[in-house]
């Protein structure tokens, strides 16, 4: 079932992430400013942006071909479907990125131990991004060219997580590891998991009628 929910965008968003990091990295290389803070900012922004890439496809295809109708009339509740969608989105776009972070941040001047900690922070915070994304996907359902609109909606809602995550990551590079902050990010993800499926399903139902 997960297989069918997933689509082929795994490689796409991962390569987008790598290309973005490389381009921005090279761009900053020219200015001679390659402090760890900048690198971390780049990593977080790149994660958020590549997360945005595949949001539109979450419900749009299902809405167009009628699979969403099938979900609505099936025994599975819409909330379950939305959770699965968000989970699939997380596995296909965020998880590969998390694995890539140690690989990509070492050449950018972050030690291996620190980069592992940063990917741990990402591991607990990115599910929140995926769950918030379902809101945007539902809001722009059926909208032609809703991609831009979606980015405008969704990027600001990513901000709290980005700010928090970035702060923790910067502390990590200063060798301060705050487990409480880590847990708070995890809590944010869990809150999103608990709340967004209901809001999203309400939006989809309103959209239908």
């Amino acid at each position: 079932m997960l297989f069918a929910l997933a689509n082929k965008s795994i490689l796409l968003s991962t390569s987008f992430f790598v290309i973005l990091i490389l381009t921005v990295g090279i761009g900053f290389g020219q200015t001679g400013d390659s402090s760890e803070k900048t690198v971390i900012a780049i990593i977080w922004i790149a994660t958020a942006l590549s997360s945005l890439l595949s949001i539109k496809e979450m419900f749009q295809n299902d809405f167009e071909d009628g699979t969403l109708d099938f979900y609505m009339l099936s025994a599975a509740t819409l909330e379950t479907i939305i959770c699965l969608k968000a989970f699939t989105h997380w596995i296909t776009t965020n998880l590969p990125i998390i694995f890539l972070i140690p690989l990509i941040s070492i050449p950018l001047g972050i030690t291996f131990y620190h980069s592992i900690l940063i990917s741990l922070v990402m591991l607990v915070s990115t599910p929140a991004l995926s769950f918030i994304s379902t809101l945007g996907a539902a809001l722009t359902l059926g909208e032609k060219g809703g991609n831009l609109l979606l980015s405008i909606f969704i990027l600001p809602t990513f901000l709290p997580i980005i700010i928090f995550g970035m702060k923790i990551s910067i502390l990590i590079t200063n060798s301060i590891y705050d487990i409480m902050a880590h847990l708070i990010l995890f809590a944010l993800s869990l809150i999103c998991l608990a709340i967004t499926p209901f809001i999203t399903s309400a939006i989809i139902k309103v959209h239908y009628s």
């Binding site: 079932m1 297989f3 069918a4 689509n7 082929k8 295809n61 299902d62 167009e64 071909d65 009628g66 699979t67 109708d69 099938f70 979900y71 609505m72 009339l73 099936s74 025994a75 599975a76 509740t77 309400a202 139902k205 239908y208 009628s209």
Partner: protein
């Protein structure tokens, strides 16, 4: 089981699509929704499935009011619109597995009512329109529901497969299910008792100051 619509009206974007529609369909009956293009056949089916809000009137299923209730799971309805809910990048087998996963019923490969055995390993984008329609219709045997809402089920089907569809409708009737079918084609329903809803062409509602 009775599906009753009483004085149903539907307005969309200021236009009255149909009004004062009354019908009653009981177990074992097939209702043929007739009407010219744009007369609201698809709208009526989507309305019954609960996808569109009813403007006036109400729909009852077994004396339970089911009009405009978002929280009702429409577990009795099977809906197949004119766009086939298929994922082009899956194989036929994967698509059927996916439906089976959600409905927890199996497509009977021994019986293979829709002749899918030979195309099981094809990707869906490699299938012809008729084959796609057959795959879509095969969900009738996987997704076991009491009320079938079919929108143009015979489009791009050949005569043999229309016969298969008829066979399934008969089986469904025997089991006490009911079906509402929107179709232009006349001939497939001849052996059945049918109720005809002839819909009028949409009227503009500009005179109505309250809408």
């Amino acid at each position: 089981m009775h599906l009753i619509g009483s004085s149903l009206s539907c307005k969309r974007e200021g236009k009255l699509i149909f009004s004062e529609l009354n019908f009653k369909v009981s177990s074992g009956e097939i209702c043929w929704i007739k009407g010219p293009n744009g007369s609201g056949k698809s709208t009526l089916l989507r309305l019954l499935a609960g996808f569109i809000k009813v403007s006036f009137g109400e729909i009852t299923l077994d004396n339970k009011k089911i009009t405009n209730k978002n929280d009702v799971i429409y577990e009795n309805f099977f809906y197949l619109g004119h766009n086939n809910p298929l994922k082009s990048y899956l194989t036929v087998k994967q698509q059927i597995d996916f439906w089976e996963g959600i409905t927890h019923t199996k497509y009977d490969l021994e019986l293979d009512s829709f002749n899918l055995k030979n195309i099981m390993d094809l990707k869906i984008y490699e299938c012809s329109d008729g084959q796609k329609k057959r795959i879509g219709l095969s969900r009738l045997t996987i997704d076991d529901k009491k009320v079938w809402l079919l929108d143009e089920p015979t489009n791009s089907l050949d005569i043999d497969n229309i016969e298969i569809l008829k066979k399934h409708l008969k089986l469904h009737q025997k089991k006490g299910g009911l079906a509402m079918i929107a179709s232009h084609e006349n001939f497939i329903f001849k052996p059945y008792k049918d109720i005809k809803l002839t819909l009028e062409t949409p009227k503009n509602l500009e005179k109505d100051p309250f809408f």
